[in-house]
Structure formats: C-alpha cells, structure tokens
Symmetry: C2
Subunit: 497 residues, 2 copies
C-alpha cells in the first residue's frame, strides 16, 4: 500500500540522488520549475515557509550578536564594478611585486564578477547613461555608504546584514536551491578598528555557523580555502561545506576577512582617539538558499523530505481518525491544536475527507517531523499516537500534550543528529597516499603542505578538489601526501558541487 | 532648550511640508538618500524595522483570510510583456467595436508598462537571446504559472500574495517612499470560479484595507477610478488615497477586478463540476512602501515623526534618570524592560551617558509613541512617568506596568485617530459649483455624472484631479457640477501626488 502510494507520486529511490533530488523538490511542493526562465524557480508556499524558518534562525542570531538589518538597492552603478576590478588588479600587482605571500593571498586568475553579472543598460525606450548591474553580492554598494556612515572610532564596530535577492549569470547546469540564477541570499558586512577586531568577528561568525548547522543537523567540513579559491578582495576565506549524501560537498556559507583592502579602495576611514585617520578592517559572512537544498539532500529518504524540527514549516500534523463518527474526536483534536499553537508549535490539523493512510503519505513526503493520530480508542485511553518521521511510534498523554510533543520533537532532532554524526564518521576518511583508491561517496582528509603545482597534480590524479585547510591541524606531524615533508596541515579533499 | 535641539538637527517646520518631509526621513534615520542612483534609497535599520512592522500587519491579514505566500522571480521574459500589450490592445479594440461601455471600461491612451520597465538584455559578456525585464508588478509572471496550477473547481479560489522588490523607471522627481524606482511592494493575486467570487474578494480586500488604515490612523478617500485611470487590463480599479497634510492625495493601495480578461489571454481555465472548461475571474490587491511615507507625512510634527503604536519599531523607550546614582533605578528599569518585552512590547532602554533632555529629543524625532522616565522619586513612589508622543504625561504604577503601558499606548492611538478624524472632517468639503473658490489643502466631494470631456474641463478649470466615485453615493440626488443633471454620484476631486 505504502509502496503503491510512493510509486503513484513518482519518487525515485534516494540512492539515485540525481533523480531523487530534482523530483522531490517539486513533489513536496517546495518550488515550481516550470517558470519560463532557466535557473529561476517559483517558490511555492511550503518551500517559502521552510526558507523563512531558516531565515528566522539567522535573524535571531544576528539580533543576539548586535547586527542591524539594512536593505540596499538591487541595482549597482557599473563604475563600482570597475572599482572592484581595480582592487583585484591592485592586489594582484602587489603580490607580483613581491609582497610576502602570507600578506597577500589572492588568486591571480579570478577577474571578480565581470562574467557573472546581469546588466541593465536600457529602461523604457531609453539607453541609460550609466549602465547598472544586478547585485551578485553587495560589497561595492554597501562600502560606498559605509564610507559616509563611519566617522570615528565611536561608530565601530559597524555590524550590518541583509537578506535579499541576488543574481548570478550561471552558465553551468542549474539545480533548485543549489545552483540558481536568482539567489535568496544572506550577507553580513562589518567594519572594525583593526585586524584583531575583524578576526574576532570571523570567530563570532563561525560560532553562529556552528549553531545553525547543529540546529539543522547538517554534516559539514569547515575549511580555510586555498589562495586560488579565496574570494576576490579577501585576505582569506573560510568556507562551510555540507557533505551531501551523493558524495559531493556543497558550499553553504563562507566568511571572509578583508583586512583593510576594500577600505583602501572605498576610502573607508575613521578617526582614532588620537585624532589619526585609519582604514577600517572588514569582514563579510554569506549564506544562501543552499541551506535549504542541503537540508533536503541530507535528511530526505525514499518516502520524501525530513525536516529538522527547528525549521519545519509544519512541526506537528494532527490526523483525526474516523472523526466523522465522533464529536469527541473533533473536540479533542481542536483542544490539542489550540494547546500546541499556544505553546508556539507550527501545527496543522488535516481533516480532509481522505483515508488516513493517504494523509500519512502526504505528510511523509513533505517531511513533517511529527504526526499525531487521534482515534476513538486513543481518546478513551487519554493518549495520542505520536509517529516520528525518523521512525517509531509512541503513545503520549493528552493531559501533557505540550510536554509530550516537545519530547518527541527532541527525539526527531536527536535521531537526525545521530544519523548525521554516523554519516560523517563513516564518510570522512584519511587518504594516505596517491596510490590509495578513491571511493565514491567518501570525503577525504589529507596531510598536505605542497605548492600550488603539487595541488594541481593532486587534484588531477584523484579527480577531487582541495577544499582547504581544516581549522584544526593534526596533533602530530604526518608526511605530506605529495612531498613527503612532515606537516601538521590537515586539508580536505572531495568532489565539489 | 527644546528649540535649540530642534534647530541643531535642522528639522524644518512641518508647515513647510516640502522641506520637512525629505529632511525628516533622513534625520530620523529611516533612509539614506546618498546612494549613487537617483530614486533608490538605502533602508537604514530604523526605517526597515518600521516597514517590517507594516508588513507584519499585512502578513497577519493575509494569513487570517487564507492567502498563501509565494515568491516569483524578479525577471520576466520580454514576450510576456508583449502578451500583456496584446491584452490591452484587444480590450481597446473590443471597446471601439461597440461593446457596451459598462462592460469594457478601459483607458485607450495607456500602453501598459512598456515605457516604465528596466530591461536586462546583457549578462556577463553576452547579449541575451530573450531580453528580460524587471517586474513592475507580477501579473504576467504569475498567470503563466496559475494556468498550470488551476485544473478544476477544487483548486479555486486560488489566493496568493508576495512581498517583493519591484521596479519602475520613474521619470518624475523621486521622493523617499512616495515615488521611488525600486519599490518595496505587496501584491495579492487571486483566481475564482466566476465574477461573483472575484467581487466578493474585492469586498474582502476593502475590509482588510479598512482595518490597516485604522491600525495606522490614516485618513483616506476610497474611490472607484474613472475609466481613463483604470489599471491596464482591469475591469475596474478601486484606489485608496491618503489625505496628506500638504493637501495632496497619495495612492497607497489599489484593488482590481479583472473579470476573465487576463484569464483569456493566459488561458487560465478550470473544469466545472459538469466537466465544462471555463475561464477564471481574477483580482489583484497592491500596496507599497507608500504606506510608510503616508504614516510619516500624516503623523509627524515639528519635533519629528510620530509612529502609531501598531507599527512603531520601538513602542516604549525607557529613560533612567540619574541612574549612575542609584542601583535601585537600574534594577527597576531592568525589571520593567523584562516585563514589557515579555508582554510583547517593542521596548528599548536608553542608558547612554547623555542628559535626559537630549535623549527625549532623540526619541521624539524618531516618533516613539511612549517614553517612560524613571527617577529616584518615581521609584520611591512606585511609579514611572509616562510621556506620550502625542502630548501629556501621566504617572503609571510600577506594580501594574504592562496594563499601564497598554492603556497609554491606546491613548496615543486614540489621539492619532481623533486627530485624523478631525483633519479629515476639516479638510474634505463639497465643491458646489465651478465658480466656488478652490482652496489649498482642501479635498473636494462633488456631484458629477458628466462625460469624459466634461471631466477634462472640470480638471483644467479647478487644477485638481478626479479620483473617482465614492463607494457610497449621495442619499438624495444633487445637480451635477458640470451638466446640472440630477445625480447621486459622489466623486472625489483633489490634488494628486
């Protein structure tokens, strides 16, 4: 019966991830991909609610850490992109002029966003004097104003963020949430008095990331990106990659330490207590709808989605059994709904005129973490039957329904966390040497301290990509996988999205 | 002392509205207008919070009336604009072919959005095959998908909405919130089985509008727009115009009944219970950041903004007096803060190291409706001194602080409502004849049932604009101001933004 239901809805087995993922995002009604522009999906109500639940976690973290929400225009004058390109060129020239590499880590091949932006050069029937581009991210827009907002040390630190739509002209194959052309984007931008202040901000950002990943039960690797993969204009980039169940990593967040590199280009200075003018040091922290994509990919199964309770658009669905036969059941259900909503749980009663089994499948597909079944016998016994989306059923007392639901949702969270921890420990292994076989679905740690040229050979030989240095090195020195030199540098190597 | 503070901040007198308005939106830190594109302001934290409070009222109304939130892409393929233009042309042709005017009210001069849209024709270094435009509103984007979503009568009514950024290439002078090029926009779109269903939706929309206007204490006229001012593609348009204190009306919301006109162009049909295919009837309901602009313009005074409590980003500011001298005061203030936040009030403690008078001015400028002053004598007497932004001070008991604040905020709301009602009744008058003098700052009601040509003469003679028919006509027939014919049609005539 259950299998029939699944087949009817056409969910491919999750083991066939590349078929399952694009199917489930539509079957569960997160998005509609039939919008007539490739890579721009329509957010359906259920998908949008899920994203807003993730945003709510982000807003709460920003509020708790003293960031203020702003909103900058989508359109940016073209000359600011030229300014960014000048910054990139300047950094490259400085590096080439022999500044110590530890001072200037920057990829010489990257030309910023020039090839990735959408341009607005026409409006109405006119050609515009100054072409504008759709923000791919907002450094250039924001720092133009930061230079006006920051006058003295008293204005620092400046901690701002926004959640907005951004745009990238993707030429690769698009995929809902994972690679899209209009991106639901979070970006925090801060300015500080000195490098240490910015470094402390990076630490705070990483603490926030850890709390968010824990709330969503996502398995991640955190890596300081190699120089060639550092964000244009950044001193260094730390990226957070989710270990997707198809064996690829998906970058869902990144934090960048800019030192005073952008400040110099945008003349962002402040007056110190001694009356001196100094450049600010800056950071950014970005995340996107990829968070939702990784929740879908990490927690779903053959029956559909599984939402961690922290971000489930519906946390509890209540199914009255044979409700037509009994007013008592209808009253009981209504009482539970009021109690749970009152306690702040996102709750839905499914009183559609359908067989219970049909309803179960529907909410399984949508990944609702907890289902309460209320039948005549349950009411008699003063219980509801709680079915967890992660497996298992438990009767919980109607007298203590809020506490019971709370405990059941905690069990779902714990089951997902445990599953994530197991997956992580089974999937992350050490690659001892270039001769060791590279397995599908495995993410590797390596001891590596070689040159850029060594890295290129390593990537070509293994078919994997270097994600960068783990934030914690090895306790004891190991031989580098390429050079044999002893090193404590622990780096990550995986198949990237 | 107070005057000195005001002068220092450079607030012009409100009587000089055209100087006051653009000054106060920046002085109160709602927006920063120094962004390098005209008509695209930066939302500062305080302004964004105010807009989000307005949005929260809208979300709650949408939720309560069974609308589902969606999010459509910003970019729309150019061929959909051509489709819209065909619809407009078809309606015009049908009208000219002699369909009864009551069936087809449509302005023949309006060519839709062609002259108002921003175009994206380039991305990266490429010219796009299909040019796209930035949504000015989302009919064409949405109805393309509605045609896929609606299959049968069981899918109706379809009630959706979104809150997004939209774009208009304004050539007139821009003004924060009132006339901007990137617009913070609300749009609800619905589909129904028949004309009556759509008409009932329009009624629901008008009830929502009335509740929102009441919550924000805004004085409005509601008018069914004349045919030449009907939204392109609409059967009729009802607009909500705020009576701004400078004597101009500002359209802040509009609802449109589309009948099945759009459905025919977008092939939006459903199967009836009899198995017949029928076109849907549709409505839209739009509002924008002009709501915030009209709150600013309506309630501010020479000292700054005044926010109605329903949407105040900060509802209560607590000022400890001589706090350094007393631990008791600090504890009292902290206790009040916890109690008020716990009760859901947006509360802020201002413990900056400044003179109390300085703090009072700051929060007056920002329009915080209620200030609580807590000094040593107040604590002794077990009270806080509550100062209302609308005038008046009252000691309220610390033992019952939540109830006290609740009552004080209700007084502020009532004072604003009363002021609005007085303003409205003093400012809306009947214009008896074309010879009557037209006064600055007055909005007129007229008896009018003339032709379009009569309307043109009326507008030119008075220098005012016809807003359209009031939803309630005169009880008894009056002579038409132009033709002398007896009519119950009550129309509105005013200076429009």
């Amino acid at each position: 019966m259950g299998d029939h239901g699944k087949a009817k809805r056409g969910i491919p087995p999750k083991a066939d991830f590349n078929a399952w993922y694009p199917a489930i995002v539509e079957i569960a009604e997160l998005v509609d991909k039939r919008y007539p522009i490739k890579g721009m999906d329509v957010w359906r109500p259920y998908g949008l609610k899920a994203m807003k639940c993730i945003d709510a976690l982000t807003h709460a973290e920003m509020e708790a850490t003293g960031h203020e929400e702003v909103r900058f225009p989508l359109l940016i004058p073209g000359d600011l992109l030229e300014k960014e390109n000048r910054l990139v060129a300047r950094l490259k020239a400085a590096r080439q002029a022999g500044v110590a590499p530890s001072e200037m880590r920057f990829d010489e091949g990257d030309a910023g966003f020039t090839k990735e932006v959408y341009w607005v050069k026409h409006a109405g029937e006119n050609e515009l004097d100054v072409p504008m581009f759709l923000r791919p991210t907002s450094e250039t827009a924001m720092y133009t104003l930061f230079a006006l907002w920051v006058r003295s040390h008293a204005d620092l630190p400046l901690k701002t963020y926004q959640i907005v739509n951004t745009f990238r002209y993707e030429t690769k194959q698009t995929r809902s949430f994972i690679r899209v052309r209009e991106i639901h984007f979070f970006e925090a931008h801060t300015a500080h008095a000195d490098e240490d202040g910015a470094t402390r901000q990076i630490e705070e950002d990483l603490e926030i990331v850890n709390r968010l990943m824990e709330a969503m039960c996502l398995p991640v690797l955190i890596s300081k990106r190699p120089v060639w993969d550092t964000f244009p204009g950044a001193w260094y980039t730390i990226a957070i990659d989710v270990l997707m169940s198809n064996g690829r990593t998906l970058q869902v967040a990144s934090v960048h330490h800019y030192r005073d590199q952008w400040a110099q280009e945008f003349d962002l200075t402040y007056e110190t207590t001694d009356g001196e003018q100094k450049f600010c040091h800056q950071t950014t922290y970005g995340m996107s709808e990829r968070l939702l994509g990784s929740v879908v990919g990490t927690h779903g199964d053959d029956n559909g989605l599984i939402f961690p309770p922290s971000i489930a658009p519906i946390q509890v669905v209540i199914i009255p059994i044979a409700a037509h036969a009994s007013e008592v059941i209808a009253e009981t259900v209504s009482g539970i709904e009021v109690a749970l909503k009152g306690a702040g749980y996102r709750t839905k009663v499914d009183d559609r005129d359908l067989r219970p089994g049909q309803k179960y499948w529907d909410w399984e597909i949508k990944g609702v973490p907890l289902r309460l079944e209320i039948g005549p016998r349950d009411v008699e016994q003063g219980v509801a039957l709680a079915a967890r989306r992660t497996g298992g059923k438990t009767p919980i007392s109607l007298g203590d329904i809020v506490e019971g639901v709370n405990a059941q949702l905690a069990e779902v969270h714990d089951a997902l966390s445990e599953h994530t921890a197991t997956f992580r420990s089974n999937s992350v292994r050490t690659l001892e040497s270039l001769d060791s076989p590279v397995e599908d679905g495995i993410f590797y740690e390596i001891a590596f301290c070689g040159s850029d040229a060594d890295a290129e050979v390593l990537e070509k030989t293994t078919g994997l990509t270097i994600l960068g240095d783990s934030l914690t090195g090895f306790d004891t020195e190991q031989p580098c996988i390429m050079t044999g030199q002893m090193t404590t540098r622990r780096q990550h190597l995986a198949r990237m999205y």
